[in-house]
C-alpha cells in the first residue's frame, strides 16, 4: 500500500467500518494478536448453550435451547396415523415416495423397517420456522429458501445420519390378535421455532430436536377391537418415552481465508450471523457417541484442507461432550 503521497487517513467508528467493509472488518480483527473475533470470542470458542426441557404444556416433549443470541423452541407432538380407515387401508396400502431425496439415500423396503418405513409413511415430520420475527431478514409466510434447506438438513440428520428413532417404537399393534399386526403408527411432528437468530441455527436446532425427543413421553396407545380404533390410556404413569438411538451432535464452522500474509485461513467455531454473512466456506461435523464421525459437510471454498478438517473434527468432539453433558443434565 505504498504511495508517494501521504494518503489522508480516514477513520470511522467500528460499527460504521463494519457496515462499510464487513470482510476487512472481520479480517482486521482476526489479524490482531491474539486473533479475536468481533464478538470477543477466540476463533475456537463456541458459545455457551443452555437447555430447558418440557416447558410447553400441549406438546408431548419440548426443549428450549439458547446458544448466545440464537434461541429456538422445539416441540414434539404425537398424532396417530390409522391404517384401518381412510384410503390407506390395512397393510399393503400404497407406499408413495415423498421426495427425490428418498432415492438418493437408498430406499429400503417398508418391511425392513428403519429409515424406509419412517420415510414411506412420513412418520417423522420435521419443520424449522424462521418467520417468527427472530431476525430482520425473515418474514412470516411461506418458508424462505434458507429455512427449507435447513429443514431438510435436519430431517436428513434425523432419519439417515443418526437413525435416532426406530420405527418399531412408533408402531401401534393389535396385541390380542393371533398374528401381530400393525394397526396404526405414531407420527411425530417435530416443530422447531427460532425465536432469536444470530447465526449457526443448525447446531442449536439440532440440539433442541435431540433434547425434545429425549423429553417426549407418549401415552400408551392400543388397538381397541370393539371400537375399531386406536385408544390411549390417560394414565400418566403409563406414558412412555421414545426408544432413541445413540446421541449425536453437530458442530458448524466458518472458514475465513486470507487472514495472514501467507493466505493462512482461520476456522471459526459456531459462527454468528455477521461471520456467516462474510464467510464463504463452511464445515459441519456430526459426531456420534464414542467420538465417531457420523457426517461431514463442507462447501463453498478450498481454504480448508485435511489439516483444517481434522481441526474441525477435534473441536466437534469437544463440543459433543458439552452438549451431551447438558442434554443429560436437563433431563434428570
Amino acid at each position: 500500500m505504498a504511495s508517494s503521497t501521504t494518503p489522508p487517513v480516514l477513520s470511522f467508528p467500528p460499527q460504521t467500518f463494519q457496515k462499510l467493509s464487513p470482510s476487512s472488518y472481520l479480517l482486521r480483527h482476526l489479524q490482531s494478536t491474539p486473533p479475536i473475533r468481533p464478538s470477543g470470542r477466540s476463533p475456537n470458542v463456541f458459545r455457551e448453550p443452555t437447555i430447558h426441557t418440557n416447558s410447553l404444556s400441549h406438546a408431548h416433549g419440548s426443549a428450549v435451547v439458547r446458544t448466545g443470541d440464537t434461541a429456538v423452541v422445539c416441540g414434539v407432538r404425537g398424532e396417530i396415523l390409522s391404517l384401518t380407515n381412510g384410503e390407506g387401508k390395512a397393510k399393503g396400502g400404497v407406499v408413495v415416495l415423498r421426495s427425490s431425496e428418498d432415492n438418493d439415500e437408498g430406499f429400503v423396503g417398508e418391511e425392513d423397517g428403519g429409515e424406509g418405513e419412517l420415510r414411506a409413511r412420513s412418520l417423522i415430520v420435521t419443520n424449522l420456522e424462521l418467520g417468527t420475527g427472530c431476525s430482520r431478514d425473515y418474514h412470516p409466510g411461506p418458508p424462505s429458501d434458507f429455512a427449507q434447506t435447513t429443514t431438510s438438513r435436519l430431517h436428513r440428520l434425523l432419519l439417515s445420519t443418526t437413525s435416532l428413532i426406530s420405527p418399531e417404537s412408533l408402531r401401534i399393534s393389535d396385541t390380542h390378535a393371533t398374528e401381530i399386526e400393525t394397526k396404526a403408527y405414531w407420527v411425530l411432528y417435530i416443530d422447531i421455532l427460532c425465536i432469536s437468530l444470530d447465526g449457526n441455527i443448525l447446531d442449536t436446532a439440532w440440539a433442541s430436536v435431540i433434547a425434545a425427543l429425549r423429553s417426549t413421553r407418549l401415552p400408551r396407545a392400543y388397538w381397541d377391537a370393539d371400537l375399531e380404533a386406536v385408544v390411549c390410556d390417560p394414565d400418566l404413569a403409563k406414558y412412555t418415552g421414545l426408544q432413541l438411538g445413540q446421541l449425536a451432535f453437530t458442530a458448524s464452522f466458518a472458514v475465513i481465508s486470507g487472514v495472514g500474509d501467507d493466505g493462512k485461513s482461520v476456522i471459526l467455531s459456531d459462527p454468528d450471523e455477521f461471520e456467516e454473512s462474510v464467510c464463504e466456506e463452511s464445515v459441519m461435523v456430526c459426531i456420534k457417541e464414542g467420538g465417531k464421525i457420523a457426517r461431514i459437510e463442507k462447501g463453498g471454498g478450498l481454504a480448508c484442507g485435511m489439516e483444517g478438517l481434522g481441526e474441525c473434527v477435534h473441536r466437534a468432539r469437544n463440543r459433543f461432550d458439552v452438549w451431551e453433558r447438558l442434554v443429560k443434565s436437563a433431563l434428570v
Binding site: Y25, R28, C134, D198, C232, P234
Partner: protein, 315 residues
C-alpha cells in the same frame, strides 16, 4: 392441500390421541376470584430485533394437565417501507400474531395463517397503534411479530356451554408483551398499553347451602383462565393505557344485562378488565425499566471491551 415448501405428515392425515375414559371433570376453582396470576415479563430476549419481550403466565399445576401462556414479541423499526408501498407521512404499524404448531391443546396447528390469527393480529394492531407516535416516523414501517408458544386454548370459540376466554388471554398477553417490545425498541409512545381480562361466571354452587334466588347473580373473576373451571357467562378484554386512563381496545363476548339501576354487568366486566390491566401495567413498568438499568451498567464495561478506539482505515 399440501405445502410443498414444508415437510408434511402422512397424506392420509393423522388424528390426535383419543383417550379411553375421557373423563373430563372440570376442575374446581382454587384461586380467589380477584387474585391475579403472577406474570413473568422480560425484554430484549431477541437481540437481533430492535426491541423484544417475552411473557409467561406460569402454570400453578405440573405437566401435562395444566396449560400456560407463553408469548414472544419482537419489534423491527422504524425501518424503510418496502419500495412498493405508497408514501406515508407517518409510520405504518403492522402486527402479526402466529400460534406455534405445538401451542394449542388437542391438535397440532398448521403453519398457514387462519382467521383466528388474522383477527387477533388486527385487534392487536388497533390496540397498539393508538399508543405509538407514528407521526414522528414519516415513511417508515414498524413491524410487530408475536409468536404464541403456549396457550390455554379457546381457539374453538364459544358455544352453548359457555364463553371461551383462552383467546382473550392470548390477546391481553400479546398486547402487554408487544407494548414492552415497542418500548424496548425505543419507539416513541404516548403511553404503554397493558392487556387485562375479566369474566362474569356462574357462581359456583355451594354444596351445602340451597340455591337461593338472590345468590344467582354472576360473580366477577379477574384474569380468568380456562383451567379455573368456571362456567363463564361473559368476558371482556381491554387494552388499557393506565397513564392516560384510556382504553385502546375492548372485546367482549357473552350476554351482559344492563340491570336497572343496581349493578350494570357491562360496567362490572369492563371495570374488572381495566383493574386487571392496571395491575399488569405495574409489571410492564418494571420490565421496560430493567433493560435500561442493565444498559447503564453494561455501557461502562462495554467501552473497555471494544478497546474504545476507532479502527483506522487507511486508503
Amino acid at each position: 392441500m399440501t405445502d410443498r415448501r414444508r415437510i408434511n405428515g402422512p397424506s392420509e392425515g393423522t388424528t390426535p390421541p383419543v383417550f379411553a375414559s375421557a373423563v373430563v371433570t372440570k376442575p374446581t376453582p382454587t384461586r380467589a376470584p380477584d387474585s391475579l396470576r403472577k406474570i413473568f415479563l422480560k425484554t430484549s430476549l431477541t437481540p437481533p430485533a430492535t426491541g423484544s419481550a417475552f411473557l409467561e403466565l406460569p402454570s400453578p399445576a405440573p405437566y401435562p394437565n395444566s396449560s400456560t401462556l407463553k408469548i414472544t414479541a419482537s419489534v423491527y423499526g422504524p425501518r424503510p417501507l418496502p419500495s412498493s408501498a405508497a408514501f406515508s407521512p407517518h409510520a405504518r404499524l403492522t402486527a402479526e400474531l402466529k400460534f406455534a404448531p405445538f401451542s394449542t391443546p388437542h391438535k397440532r396447528r398448521g403453519y398457514v395463517r387462519d382467521a383466528v390469527e388474522r383477527d387477533l393480529s388486527v385487534q392487536l394492531q388497533n390496540a397498539l397503534v393508538k399508543s405509538i407516535k407514528t407521526g414522528a416516523y414519516p415513511k417508515s414501517g414498524i413491524d410487530v411479530f408475536i409468536t404464541v408458544l403456549d396457550c390455554e386454548g379457546g381457539l374453538d370459540g364459544d358455544d352453548d356451554e359457555g364463553v371461551e376466554v383462552g383467546l382473550m388471554g392470548v390477546l391481553a398477553g400479546a398486547i402487554t408483551c408487544a407494548s414492552a417490545a415497542v418500548a424496548d425498541a425505543g419507539i416513541e409512545c404516548v403511553d404503554l398499553v397493558s392487556g387485562g381480562v375479566a369474566a362474569l361466571v356462574k357462581r359456583p354452587q355451594n354444596s351445602d347451602a340451597m340455591d337461593t334466588d338472590g345468590m344467582n347473580a354472576p360473580m366477577l373473576v379477574l384474569d380468568p383462565s380456562p383451567a379455573d373451571g368456571y362456567q363463564i357467562l361473559s368476558a371482556a378484554v381491554v387494552g388499557y393505557m393506565a397513564g392516560r386512563e384510556e382504553v385502546t381496545l375492548l372485546w367482549t363476548k357473552g350476554s351482559v344485562g344492563i340491570l336497572d339501576g343496581e349493578e350494570d354487568e357491562l360496567d362490572l366486566l369492563m371495570d374488572g378488565a381495566i383493574m386487571t390491566a392496571t395491575a399488569v401495567r405495574l409489571v410492564l413498568n418494571e420490565a421496560v425499566k430493567e433493560r435500561m438499568l442493565l444498559g447503564l451498567a453494561r455501557s461502562k464495561g462495554k467501552l473497555k471491551e471494544d478497546g474504545g478506539g476507532d479502527v483506522a482505515m487507511s486508503s
